[in-house]
């Protein structure tokens, strides 16, 4: 937290009462007019209109000169110097004080002389030439008369105290302040006395005597309270906050912070209030009351934005960023840092850059963004070097000035030495001529001494020149180094950006590829699903077809047979009394038909079972059938099956139909052929499964039977599985041949 200093107003206003103790060649009204002009210059100066003030001062100077009023001219010149300095702080205005000083000497005007030296001292102070400033202040004090210009003595003393304090000469500083207070008290100027008391407090604070500092601040505060100096109170309360806070007496600190804020509000000066809020925020931060700190910081920023103090604003944004960081709001923190950075860029303020980069580096390090942290650290270091470099340059500049001065002094001295040498040579010669050997020897020694002196001085100067050259070289080198490292950083940054852009492009490409692959995969999946669905639907349709066929089979075969059995039973019932012979026949039919249903059912169930899908299964069942049909009738059987056909798969329909055709064929043999031998073969015949059933039956009744329903149904069954059925009958037997395509 910065200590608030109160420098007495740099402007030493001239609106004073003048003693007119001198005989004056000009008229009183001229004097009044001139001083009126100077008063107007003061007024314009106070209101901030420098050009107008300067105009009035020049007017006063012109009038003074025309009226030969030296004193007026002197004050006018002083005013002009003051104004010029204010307009352009860097202007070398020390020469402007030469004329008023001469006028002062001529008129023996203590006030004019004092004021001239006083202003010159302020000039040196602003140029940070503290020893020159103190010297000028001392001259000013010696010119001022304590009886009449006590107030100015006090001001000059206070200023000197301030300078001693800056130079770390605390004892001298306190001496000066005490002297200032004595004069202020004599003048009954409580406001300034209070200010100086506050300054003493600051010195004690600097010396580490914080309790004494607080005592001084409190005295200053009570003095200011008595006269209602709100601006001063704001400052002194701020100092009390700093002191208590440093002693970790947070309650007292908070108390004075509230008072400081209240008074800052009372001043109505935005700058003061903004600073007070910033101080309040700092205190809250130190007490880790982050929300409160945030609140104050925002108020401070709003006010600084109003008054347009960019540098303060940037520092506030930086501090705001740190508070957001503590509140863990990374985005807000980054935004705040960015705002600070914007201002820093606008101002091209290197120390500001440096502190932003330093804070930023720490910020990113905490968030584990080490790359960023490192970059910021590099920038921060580079700017630190750069700032340092500027200081070095300033030092070199100072060295140069000193060197030039010394060189001039040396030249003058050399000229004088030469003159003296000539004089001495002359005196030596005279002494020799006069025969005064002792005097000649003394002169000779003096000449040698002088020459050696000169030589030494010359060597010293050469050494200094060398030193200067080296410093300059060093400065230039380090400047170049800084420049180079900044450039390198810039290049690295650009490269990084480029790389990032490239990475982003690659990422985009990659994402695109991924999206494309995903899309293709999705499409593929959809198509596959559609395919699967269609396949499923097809399978379902197939299954439905199979089911329909089975139910049709059941209905056709079993349903109609059952109906037939039912009819036969009813008929037997009715015929039982009238035609008992018919009943026997009908019962026989019932028995035979129901058995056929059983067979049929069994075959259908067999065909449906998926583990019976090989030709082998069909062949086994066919062979099994022989044991149940032909064997009991004592018919000789041979059964042959092609081995390489057995593993062949057969669809459900085919195996069912083949089996049923086979059984029908066997059935026909049993019923009609009177055969004694049956030969059955299952073979492969280029893409066909061939089944032949051959018997050696005689052909009684056969012609009629084979054209009957039995063979018709056999042919139909064959056709339904794309097969062909051939029945070759001859006197020596019948051959049934079935060809069914197999894959």
């Amino acid at each position: 937290m910065p200590m608030s200093f109160f420098l007495p107003a740099a402007t030493l206003l001239l609106c004073l009462t003048f003693e007119r103790a001198f005989a004056q060649p000009y008229k009183a009204q001229d004097s009044v007019a001139i001083y009126k002009m100077l008063e107007e210059a003061d007024a314009s100066d106070l209101s901030g209109d420098m050009d107008k003030a300067l105009g009035h001062a020049r007017e006063a100077l012109a009038l003074s000169k025309s009226k030969k009023m030296d004193r007026g001219a002197g004050f006018a010149l002083l005013k002009i110097a003051d104004l010029v300095l204010k307009k352009d702080g860097a202007a070398k205005t020390s020469a402007l004080y030469d004329e008023p000083f001469r006028i002062g000497l001529r008129l023996n005007d203590s006030f004019l002389l004092g004021l001239t030296k006083h202003q010159l001292a302020q000039y040196y102070r602003d140029q940070v030439q503290y020893p020159e400033a103190i010297d000028s202040y001392k001259q000013a004090v010696s010119f001022y008369r304590p009886s009449a210009e006590g107030h100015y003595i006090a001001l000059a003393s206070n200023d000197q105290g301030l300078l001693y304090e800056r130079m770390g000469q605390y004892d001298k500083a306190i001496d000066m302040y005490l002297q200032a207070i004595r004069f202020f008290e004599k003048e009954n100027d409580i406001k300034e006395a209070a200010n100086t008391t506050g300054n003493i407090g600051i010195v004690y604070y600097r010396m580490g005597k914080k309790q004494e500092a607080i005592r001084q601040f409190r005295v200053s505060a009570s003095m200011r309270e008595s006269i209602g100096d709100v601006k001063g109170l704001t400052a002194v309360y701020g100092n009390l906050v700093t002191a208590f806070s440093s002693l970790d007496q947070q309650d007292s600190a908070s108390h004075y912070q509230r008072l400081a804020l209240q008074n800052a509000e009372k001043t109505g000066v935005k700058h003061t209030l903004a600073q007070a809020y910033a101080n309040a925020s700092s205190l809250a931060s130190r007490q880790q009351k982050w929300k409160e700190a945030l609140d104050y910081e925002r108020k401070s920023i709003a006010l600084y934005q109003d008054v347009g103090d960019q540098l303060k604003l940037a520092n506030r944004f930086l501090s705001l960023g740190l508070i957001y960081d503590k509140l863990n709001d990374s985005i807000a923190a980054e935004n705040s840092f960015a705002s600070a950075m914007d201002i820093a860029r606008k101002l091209q303020n290197k120390p500001l850059f440096q502190s932003i980069y330093t804070s930023g580096s720490a910020f990113y390090a905490r968030r584990n963004n080490h790359q960023r942290a490192l970059d910021y650290f590099k920038f921060s270091t580079a700017y630190k070097d750069s700032v340092l470099n500027e200081k070095v340059s300033a030092n070199v500049e100072e060295l140069k000035t000193k060197y030039e001065t010394e060189k001039k002094d040396f030249d003058i001295a050399r000229l004088e030495t030469e003159k003296k040498l000539k004089q001495l040579e002359l005196e030596k010669k005279t002494a020799i001529i006069e025969g005064n050997r002792i005097l000649a020897a003394r002169k000779e020694a003096e000449i040698a001494l002088l020459k050696r002196d000169e030589e030494i001085k010359r060597l010293e100067l050469a050494q200094k020149k060398e030193e200067l050259a080296r410093q300059e070289l060093l400065a230039r080198e380090s400047e170049q180094q800084v420049l180079r490292s900044l450039q390198e950083l810039q290049i690295a940054e650009n490269e990084k950006k480029l790389r990032q852009r490239q990475l982003e492009r690659e990422r985009l490409l990659r994402n695109g590829m991924i999206a494309l692959v995903v899309l293709l995969f999705l499409i593929g999946w959809l198509l596959f699903n559609r395919f699967k669905l269609r396949k499923k639907l097809e399978e379902k349709e197939k299954l439905l077809e199979v089911r329909n066929r089975i139910s049709k089979d059941l209905h056709d075969d079993i349903g109609s047979t059952l109906t037939s059995i039912h009819i036969l039973s009813r008929a037997s019932e009715q015929s039982l009394e009238k035609e008992p012979g018919n009943v026997r026949r009908m019962l026989g039919d019932i028995s035979q038909q129901s058995q056929s249903i059983q067979q049929n059912m069994s075959d259908i169930v067999w065909a449906i079972r998926p583990d019976n899908d090989k030709v082998e299964n069909l062949v086994n069942r066919m062979r099994e059938n022989i044991g149940l049909t032909l064997e009991p009738r004592q018919i000789q059987c041979s059964f042959e099956a092609d081995e390489n056909l057995l593993r062949q798969s057969l669809p459900m329909e085919a195996r069912k139909e083949i089996l049923l055709i086979y059984k029908e064929a066997i059935n026909n043999i049993l019923k009609h052929a009177h055969a004694t031998e049956v030969n059955i073969r299952v073979t492969r015949q280029d893409g066909f499964l061939r089944m032949t059933v051959r018997d050696n039956g005689t052909w009684k009744e056969k012609s009629t039977t084979y054209s009957g329903t039995g063979t018709t149904s056999m042919s139909q069954r064959a056709a339904s599985i794309n097969g062909t059925l051939r029945i070759d009958g001859s006197a020596h037997g019948t051959t049934v041949t079935l060809d069914v395509p197999v894959t």
Partner: protein, 211 residues
């Protein structure tokens, strides 16, 4: 005096038909035809039958469970299983549990010869059952002296022919042995099956399962 039999059958129509069919058979003396096997042991005590015909698919106590109960008390009482389908596990499990033979319901009119066969020690076997029998016995890696529990080479051969649809007679022709020898082989297979499945049942029981 005919053979005394009792029948368990849950289908009422079939019960009626069987009663009608067997009423006039001299060889058979039908003592009772019962709808369930809940009181199977008492029934046997009351009727002391020579042969029991047992439907496999019955509610509450199925035929195989009833068969086990019978086997516990009457190890030698012939039990003939009745079933609709031959190609499911029922017949096989029944044989393993100690059935003496089986009769498909579609061949129910063959009940008299079937009873006769069972009493004479001839048990039927078809390809479907034969396949399961073969799969139960571990295949011997090399010819080894047949012990009491594993199938002999001849028995294996016989079962393979059965699987291929050969009848007993066809097997006899094929292997050039007497039909009676085929029956003896089958009977022996039955016994081995029962012993084997009993050891398997114990094995399975120790694993916490049940047959």
């Amino acid at each position: 005096m005919g053979v005394k039999i009792i029948i368990y059958e849950d289908n009422q129509h079939l019960r009626n038909s069987l009663q009608s069919l067997l009423r006039f058979q001299d060889e058979i003396e039908l003592q009772a035809i019962l709808p369930n096997a809940q009181t199977v042991l008492q029934d046997i005590e009351v009727f002391s039958p020579d042969v029991v015909l047992m439907d496999i698919d019955m509610p509450v106590v199925n035929g195989i469970e009833a068969l086990r109960q019978i086997r516990n008390q009457y190890p030698e009482l012939p039990v003939l299983m009745l079933t609709v389908f031959e190609d499911n596990d029922n017949i096989f499990h029944a044989i393993c549990a100690g059935a003496s033979g089986y009769l498909l319901k579609k061949n129910i009119d063959q009940v008299v010869p079937a009873v006769r066969d069972v009493l004479s020690g001839g048990a039927p076997m078809t390809g479907v059952v034969a396949r399961k029998v073969l799969s139960l016995f571990p295949k011997p890696a090399m010819p080894q002296p047949a012990d009491d529990h594993s199938l002999s080479a001849r028995e294996t051969e016989l079962l393979q022919l059965l699987i291929r649809g050969y009848s007993y007679k066809m097997i006899a022709d094929e292997l050039q042995i007497a039909l009676e020898t085929v029956r003896t082989h089958i009977k022996r297979i039955y016994r081995k099956l029962q012993v084997n499945s009993a050891t398997e049942a114990i094995y399975k029981a120790t694993r916490g399962g049940s047959l």
